[in-house]
């Protein structure tokens, strides 16, 4: 039997970390993992559920393989996989990530009956008229007036926000939350430069644009500088 360790286990105060070697074959890795974990669970007779972090280095694991490893580890009574950390991703995944983080600027009017849907953050240079819809997987920023429907975080991101120079929407949606316009707009002029976000009690709240820098500091992408 080889002497090299393909699976090493380290204990930290936050739980266990499994380091899986990235040069051996996947099958070899599974076999050794099975053997190692069988040993440890015998050694540790506590009932407490332990979370493990799995680090796989430069190995690419498909979604199916990730599930398989999680299952394998979960079969050991008191181990639960928290995350699988890898250094690599496919080009398709990288492209998706890039799109998710892109600001897409569009100069047009989204008219009644039209739907503008993008991946990433939307910067609309124009209006959304009543009956028109804008959708983004990230944030929605409308430089003109928002009179139709805006849906931010349309793939489920509850951190997404909506901002508009003139906020008179017929409906706002963020992730799975929907809020319809109040039947009576309190103050027409007070509707300049506003934003909408999901508050802690899972409600869509409309507020001054300036609140965003406090509640969503991650909106700032600029790093470094003076």
């Amino acid at each position: 039997m080889k002497n090299t360790q393909n699976v090493t286990i380290k204990g930290t105060k936050d739980g266990l970390t499994l380091h899986l070697d990235d040069t051996c074959s996947y099958e070899e890795l599974k076999k050794e993992l099975d053997r190692k974990l069988a040993n440890t669970s015998k050694a540790q007779e506590e009932d407490r559920l332990l979370t493990v972090k799995v680090k796989v280095g430069n190995r690419y694991l498909s979604h199916g393989q990730q599930e398989e490893l999680k299952d394998l580890i979960r079969q050991k009574r008191n181990l639960l996989v928290d995350v699988i950390e890898t250094n690599v991703m496919t080009i398709a995944e990288a492209e998706e990530l890039r799109q998710e983080n892109e600001i897409v600027s569009v100069a047009r009017i989204v008219r009644s009956g039209q739907v503008l849907e993008i991946t990433g953050d939307l910067l609309l240079i124009g209006d959304v008229n009543p009956g028109g819809t804008v959708k983004a997987s990230g944030n929605v920023f409308v430089m003109g007036s928002l009179k139709g429907i805006a849906h931010a975080g349309c793939n489920g991101n509850e951190q997404a926000v909506i901002g508009a120079s003139s906020m008179k929407p017929s409906q706002l949606r963020i992730a799975g939350c929907i809020s319809r316009a109040p039947d009576q707009l309190p103050n027409e002029d007070g509707k300049a430069m506003e934003c909408a976000y999901i508050s802690e009690d899972q409600q869509i709240v409309i507020d001054r644009l300036q609140t965003l820098m406090k509640i969503r500091p991650n909106l700032t992408r600029f790093e470094g500088g003076r």
Binding site: I109, R111, S112, G113, Q114, D127, N129, P130, G131, G132
Partner: protein, 268 residues
Amino acid sequence: MGEAIVVTSGKGGVGKTTTSANIGTALALQGKRVCLVDTDIGLRNLDVVMGLENRIIYDLVDVIQGRCKIHQALVKDKRFEDKLYLLPAAQTSDKTAVQPEEMKKLIDELKQDYDYIIIDCPAGIEQGYRNAVAGADRAIVVTTPEVSAVRDADRIIGLLEKEENVEPPKLVINRIRNHLMKNGDMLDVDEVTSHLSIGLIGIVADDDEVIKASNHGEPIALNPNSKASIAYRNIARRILGESVPLQQLDSGDEGMFTKIKRFFGVRS
């Protein structure tokens, strides 16, 4: 080679047929050779408004299905010296009797003989609309200052903007009632124009004379003394490229006047 202008709106009853008849009449009065084309198959009424109903022998569907030549179907308006013709819609067929490509071919043929082809579009956004737009070079969107009409105009403008062969559409605001607008009970010209953000080519007051004239088969543009007539004639002049200030809706109202002046300033 002439130009084809489609007059459309989305919503029915806002004044497409009235606008088509009067712009056509006003262009003919300016000495242009004009052919009006009614594409509202099944609900034709441009012929009635023009007072030409009794002279119809063939119609648009007859031409497209090859039952007659174009010139046989064209109805000549005797009030003008060989300047104004009408191609009537069929009353018996339905909109699916004509395809957009056939329509385009027909309009292209008419463009050889006329300076302006004015195409009266049916309400809606289905096949009738697509037929009407198929051969057009320019588009006029008619709306009234009502929220529902403006909403439909917005929808239509969105569709027109996708048509590669049609210039950006121009707006006519029809049936303006000054007292309602002044009291804020109706959208004002400014609100409608900024909402739709397209160029304004004319505003027409709500005027009983328009209805009377239509009922007599004499488009109001033939009457030089009515305000609505001047409005339609002004639209015709703007189509011809002249820069004509917008009509004053109410001479006693300074607020409106400055508004209109501002408009003109912006547009000229």
